[in-house]
């Protein structure tokens, strides 16, 4: 079953609210929806990353804040090695992706961190839904490849 929307929006109260509080507190004129979502996505990303880093610090580098996948939630091919992915790893990989292809990185941010659907992302960026779909697929695979074997990048 394809779950298109990044599904974390409902249980994410505390975090999303935190993002909101920060968003509202910011004295920035929102040029458009796109801008708003872009900032929201960036904030979400930052909150999660900061939190993960904080955890890492308190645990004195013992174990990383590794989150295990819910058992049975993965059926996709190639996901075999995806048992543990850290948000910090995603962040790193995303950073590297943005060096290479800022547009792909932005699509990933909007989709995963601001929870925008393919359709919304397409509308916001003025590209077709098919393009979003294609780009995200590439970006996802690339990020995962980075996380699994970071040195394999050229």
């Amino acid at each position: 079953m394809k779950r298109e929307r990044a599904g974390h929006t409902l249980q994410a109260t505390a975090v999303v609210h935190e993002a909101f509080v920060r968003l509202v507190g910011m004295d920035v004129p929102w040029q458009d929806r796109m801008h708003f979502f872009a900032v929201a996505a960036r904030l979400m990303r930052r909150i999660l990353v900061d939190h993960a880093k904080g955890r890492q610090r308190t645990k004195r580098g013992g174990e990383l804040s590794i989150v295990a996948l819910a058992p049975g939630s993965e059926g996709g091919q190639g996901a075999t090695n995806a048992g543990e992915i850290d948000v910090l790893e995603i962040d790193d990989a995303l950073e590297r992706l943005s060096q290479r292809d800022p547009r792909l990185a932005q699509i990933v941010e909007l989709h995963y961190f601001a929870g925008m659907t393919y359709q919304e992302t397409a509308l916001a960026l003025g590209i077709s839904e098919a393009t979003v779909h294609r780009d995200l697929r590439m970006a996802k695979a690339w990020i995962l490849s980075q996380i699994r074997s970071p040195e394999s990048s050229l």
């Binding site: 929201a40 989150v67 590439m138």
Partner: protein
């Protein structure tokens, strides 16, 4: 709370984030990688390697990368990243909450987390001074920091809430702000389970569920009497204790958190904020952001009752989108509870229980459950769930009273008048689907005529014999199913199914000859109407004519009913372009109303409007105007000057002005109409959106492109939400916006929009409908501007071809397409063809009483054609006369005038007529000072 200095405030706009320097070869390589991956990934697994190897052409490292990527590809699941982020968010949220455990809020120490929801988290707490051992629930409102004006309102409201003292309402004990400035509420701690789980867990019978629900009603009613609206009733807020006592939580809390200006000022913000809420229990007015009243609680109670009875919610989030859900709540009628019980028999529900087990948990078989729900309970629930607050129960007390009547086997109020209500809603919902439109102006059609008559008839019937009442109900139940299924706006993709259902329904009625003639007539009419809404006009006519025949044969004087059916028939015939028959039906309907002394009623006003629209469609502007003015006057008398009904007629009148090229008048009327809607109806109201579109369209024509573009974008955004892309109205707005973009010289945008409009028009009106023809000419217009003449010609010819079968020959649309094609002929060096087309256009404009400017525009082009054909005498006559006329009617700065002038100048200079050239220059050149003083 301090405003956090934010790093983004000084940052570049994120959308243009600075691209790092990418070395060209690397960029190229990346592109290639993307391309190969993109192609490989769509291949079957076993072909991917081979393909990649070939595609990489010996580039080993590229191949390695592609293969790695393919290994990491996780389609079709959205898997690893989403899950990782979900978990990260969960972890962050949980830690944030856990961090509060042990801290003291007010005089309470937080002990554990009880739960968390849309607005914040709830903690179990006890008094920190241990004075009492009582446990309380502390709700910390995380979203509250959004609202700067919060604390003041908070203090005021909490006094009121604290005064609520009812055994079924969890008491508000205390409230305040945490050190971090987050508001908190201390409430009586209720140990219990949500009402839906309680009922299912105990397998309560239907009767017991209703009794419990009535207790809940009592509590809500008590609060309403104390002027407190709950605003967020849902099972999670209705707990039932071990002893079976329901307790309502969070009374009035939602108001504290809601509708602050900060939140509502930004659409995007609201939208994002919405994602935190589950709108499944929200009433349409809440979704639309309208004032929330006690009636919203009635609605929410209806949802809760629905769920207690059927185990399902009337509307549910189906992964696709929340927007879809919101649209459903505002537009679609939910299936009746009994039909849910029936349909769901073998379908597993989300909790893994079958309908049979649902029924069983209510102590009934599925069939028995369906039977118990059919009739009273269906009607009661559906009345509570009506879209418009005024059509629901007036109070919770009335809802409870009807339920008590049902339990006592007395007749319930809810079963009266449903037929009128639903046909009215159906009509309203679909009114736009049939609005004929001219010149890209979709005309507003108000169909209250049928509904008001029906309402009246139903009212009379109620007073008549019971038998008659039952008959009406028979119709209404039957039609409810059809209506619910035949709604093309539920989901564009399901339209086929809706048609199938309609077909089934019509077979059912045709087969059942035992029906009373009157019932049959009404059913036939309803089916005919439904077919018309579906755009199947031919079929609709068959049923409507049958209905008319039956009513004429009827012994009873069902004459108002006949007027209703005739009106419907007239509309359908109009859609088919059978104007004469349509007019006859309308006139007969008016006549009937007149003989019944119902001449000065909304019904007559609507018929007049309909006649006006038909005349407009026929191209008889004066007659159209006459009808609209009569209708406007009557409407003003009946409804007053600020009523939406009047705004609708004014819009029609406006389109006449537009056709008469009286742009001042048209703009004035459009503003008046838009203004009425703005003050009288909510933001997403279809008619209000339409009026934005109409005004935008006119402003565009007047060259006020910036204001126009803004209105049109607003309208288009709303319409995409309301109707989706393949709807006549969306098409019209796309078209108008295309014209605006064209005026702004944004030709690429214009072409894209014009193509969208054409596609939307074709899908919604049908490929051979004259409006689709119009969209072809519209696209042709953009293409001409882009100098893509070959494509433009194809479009213009397509339009003429469609008009040939869909419009009378002497129609201004035809002239318009001929003119366009003539201009294309000129541009592509075919003056002889141009002459034929433009002569036809000029004559046709004249015969249809078109505004001078249109005639002159074509005449000028004709002059140009004649000049090229080396017929200077005729050419000069057309060129110079048309130029004069254009100067007179449009002024010297109008685009058409400028073109005409240029043609004339070219003509004179080519012939060496220096004197005439000079005379032209002195007589009509726009003096430069003029424009300066003009400012």
């Amino acid at each position: 709370m301090d405003t956090e200095p934010d790093p983004f405030a000084r940052e570049q706009p994120l959308t243009d984030s600075v691209a790092p320097e990418v070395i060209p070869e690397e960029a190229e390589r990346w592109q290639r990688l993307q391309r190969i991956f993109g192609e490989a990934v769509d291949l079957p697994r076993e072909q991917q390697n081979e393909f990649s190897a070939i595609a990489c052409g010996g580039d080993e490292s590229m191949l390695r990368e592609v293969l790695t990527l393919l290994q990491c590809d996780s389609e079709p699941t959205n898997g690893p990243l989403t899950n990782a982020l979900d978990a990260a968010i969960d972890a962050t949220s949980t830690d944030r909450r856990q961090a509060l455990i042990g801290t003291v809020v007010g005089s309470y120490r937080l002990v554990s987390v009880l739960g968390h929801g849309g607005a914040g988290s709830v903690y179990l707490a006890e008094r920190s001074d241990r004075q009492y051992s009582a446990q309380v629930a502390v709700k910390i409102v995380e979203s509250a920091a959004l609202h700067p004006d919060m604390s003041m309102r908070f203090r005021a409201e909490r006094q009121i809430l604290a005064s609520l003292n009812h055994p079924n309402i969890a008491r508000l004990v205390d409230a305040g702000e945490t050190e971090k400035g987050l508001p908190y509420l201390v409430m009586e701690y209720v140990h219990g389970s949500p009402v839906d789980r309680y009922c299912d867990g105990r397998q309560l019978s239907l009767g017991a569920r209703l009794e419990l629900f009535l207790q809940i009603c009592t509590a809500v009613q008590y609060a309403h009497q104390n002027l407190v609206v709950h605003r967020d009733l849902k099972p999670a807020n209705i707990l039932v204790t071990e002893d079976g006592v329901p307790k309502l939580l969070d009374f009035g809390i939602a108001k504290l958190l809601d509708a602050s200006p900060v939140v509502t000022q930004s659409l995007a913000l609201t939208r994002m904020n919405d994602r935190l809420l589950t709108p499944e229990y929200a009433s349409p007015e809440q979704i639309l952001g309208h004032p929330v009243t006690t009636s919203s609680d009635v609605y929410a109670l209806g949802v809760v009752l629905y769920e207690l009875l059927t185990g399902r919610r009337p509307y549910t989030v189906t992964a696709t989108s929340q927007l879809e859900l919101e649209r459903s709540i505002c537009v679609t009628d939910p299936p009746r509870p009994s039909s849910v019980a029936r349909r769901a028999v073998d379908v597993l529900d989300s909790k893994g229980a079958t309908a049979t087990s649902f029924a069983a948990s209510r102590g009934l078989s599925a069939e028995r459950l369906e039977k118990r729900l059919t009739g009273d309970l269906d009607a009661i629930v559906m009345r509570a769930l009506r879209k418009e607050a005024v059509h629901r129960y007036g109070s919770v007390e009335q809802l409870a009273a009807d339920l008590r009547r049902h339990l006592a086997s007395e007749p319930v109020v809810a079963r009266q008048g449903n037929w009128a209500y639903y046909s009215q809603r159906f009509v309203r919902r679909h009114a736009f689907g049939v609005a004929a439109s001219i010149a890209g102006i979709a005309l507003l059609t108000a169909f209250t005529v049928m509904t008001s008559i029906q309402a009246k008839r139903i009212a009379n019937e109620r007073d008549r014999a019971t038998q008659e009442g039952q008959r009406a109900e028979q119709v209404s139940n039957f039609m409810l199913d059809v209506f619910a299924a035949a709604d093309p706006f539920v989901n564009q993709g399901k339209e086929v199914t809706a048609r199938e259902l309609l077909d089934q329904a019509s077979r059912r009625i045709s087969g059942d000859l035992n029906q009373q003639p009157d019932v049959r007539a009404r059913l036939l009419e309803a089916i005919g109407r439904a077919y018309r809404r579906q755009g199947q006009f031919d079929r609709a006519v068959v049923y409507l004519e049958d209905s008319v025949r039956l009513r004429r044969d009827g012994t009873a004087p069902a004459t108002s009913g006949l007027a209703v059916t005739l009106t419907e028939l007239a509309l359908t015939l109009r859609e088919l372009g059978r104007f004469d028959e349509s007019e006859r039906s309308s006139n007969e309907a008016i006549q009937i109303l007149r003989t019944h002394g119902e001449e000065r009623t909304p019904a007559t006003a609507d018929l007049l409007t309909g006649l006006g629209q038909m005349e407009l469609q026929r191209g008889n502007l004066d007659r159209a105007q006459d009808f609209f003015e009569q209708s406007a006057k009557l409407t003003r008398d009946l409804f007053g000057a600020e009523h939406p009904e009047l705004a609708a007629v004014l819009s029609n009148l406006m389109s006449v002005r537009l056709w008469k090229n009286d742009l001042d008048g048209a703009e004035k009327l459009a503003r008046e109409s838009e203004n009425i809607y703005r003050i009288s109806v909510p933001e997403l109201h279809p008619d209000r959106v339409m009026s934005q579109y109409l005004l935008g369209d006119i402003l565009a024509r007047r060259g006020k492109t910036a204001e126009a573009a803004k209105l049109l974008e607003q309208a288009l955004g709303a319409q995409r939400i309301l109707y989706g892309d393949a709807s006549p109205r969306t098409a019209a707005t796309m078209d108008a916006l295309a014209l605006t973009r064209q005026a702004q010289n944004r030709l690429e945008d214009a072409e894209k929009l014009a193509r969208e409009a054409l596609s939307a028009g074709g899908k919604s009106h049908g490929d051979r409908h004259f409006m689709t023809g119009y969209y072809h000419t519209s696209l042709a217009g953009v293409l001409i501007k882009e100098r893509m003449y070959a494509e433009a010609e194809k479009e213009a010819r397509a339009a003429l071809d469609i008009y040939n079968t869909s419009l009378p020959a002497d129609h201004q649309y035809v002239a318009s397409a001929e003119h366009q094609l003539g201009e294309i002929m000129l541009a592509t060096g075919r003056p002889a063809d141009a002459e034929a087309l433009l002569t036809a256009a000029v004559n046709r404009w004249q015969r249809t009483g078109a505004p001078q400017a249109r005639i002159a525009r074509s005449a000028s082009a004709l002059g140009e054609a004649l000049s090229r054909l080396n017929r200077p005498r005729e050419a000069e006559k057309y060129l110079s006369e048309s130029h004069q006329q254009l100067v007179a009617s449009q002024g010297t700065k109008d685009e058409a005038t400028i073109v005409a002038r240029r043609r004339l100048e070219k003509f004179y200079s080519a012939r060496g007529e220096k004197g005439k050239l000079d005379a032209l220059a002195t007589a009509t050149a726009p003096a430069p000072e003029q424009s300066l003083t003009g400012n």
